[in-house]
Amino acid sequence: MADAVDPAVPGRRRRRKASGRRSPVQVVVQVIGELLITLGLVALLFVGWELWWTNIESNQKQEEALTSLFEEFELPAAAPSASPEANSGEKNNDDAEPPVLDKPEYGETFAVVYVPRFGEDHARPVTSGVGVDVLDSLGLGHYPGTQMPGEVGNFAVAGHRQTHGQVLDLIHTLVPGDKIYVQTKDGYYTYTFRNNQIVMPDRVDVIAPVPTKPEAEPTERYLTMTACNPRYGATERIIAYAVMESWQPMSEGPPAEIAERVAEYAAAPAGSGS
């Protein structure tokens, strides 16, 4: 009864009953509201996609790239130590000039990087180029202007940290002395991690032939990896520097630390990832 005293309430009731539908303003407000809720859900879905699904998808593509790259490799069929050729040849290749691949075309996968510190089963393909099409699906991207594995200068690669396979997620856990192995069709290059550095994104000099010294003439063979920093952000870049220590041709077999992993890939029939 108290309601009836309020003139607004019966009036509104009457209007709603009379028209039987909402006013245009109400309809517009409701549609905008529903669209905003949808946008919020889509944004959540995007976060889930970026942080979770891209890893599954990209890992699968990288496994495929690795498998097809291994088909191109001419791995010794027998156990490397049993091969007389490997033993009669130079055991130590430190003095010999390491072979250097020709510059691959953009988008061509040409090497495998093994970082045991990132996990026993760590193996990632390296593809020429650092465009989103390479980095988002094929793992490590090689800066086209930089040198090739084994070449005097800087072999520089970039990789994602949280998304698209989390290629370099554990880059901050590298300890000086850690080995980083690079495998191409010519053989295995062993790099030793020296230090990392956190820089601003515009520091192009970290991928110079002598890292951070653009004018210097290189005498050493460097490996530089770049990733975003901090984790889950990209206001800075984290750079890991390594120097080549030794190399060995494919016929000598892989270095002991990665032998198991290499054998796994060599034996894996196409399409079966681990």
Binding site: T54, A158, T226, A234
Partner: protein, 54 residues
Amino acid sequence: MYGWIFRHLPGPLWVRIIVSILLIAGAVLLLLQFVFPWLSQFNPLTDSTIGTIE
């Protein structure tokens, strides 16, 4: 808006529920397959490269 769409779907209630689930699944699939991969390149939080070399 969604209420309007739901009311205008043909068939009895259970058909309309199934059709709306399919519509939502289709929209999600479109987003995952095409929209998000395209959108991802504008996400500054995943840029791991140095400089502006692209």
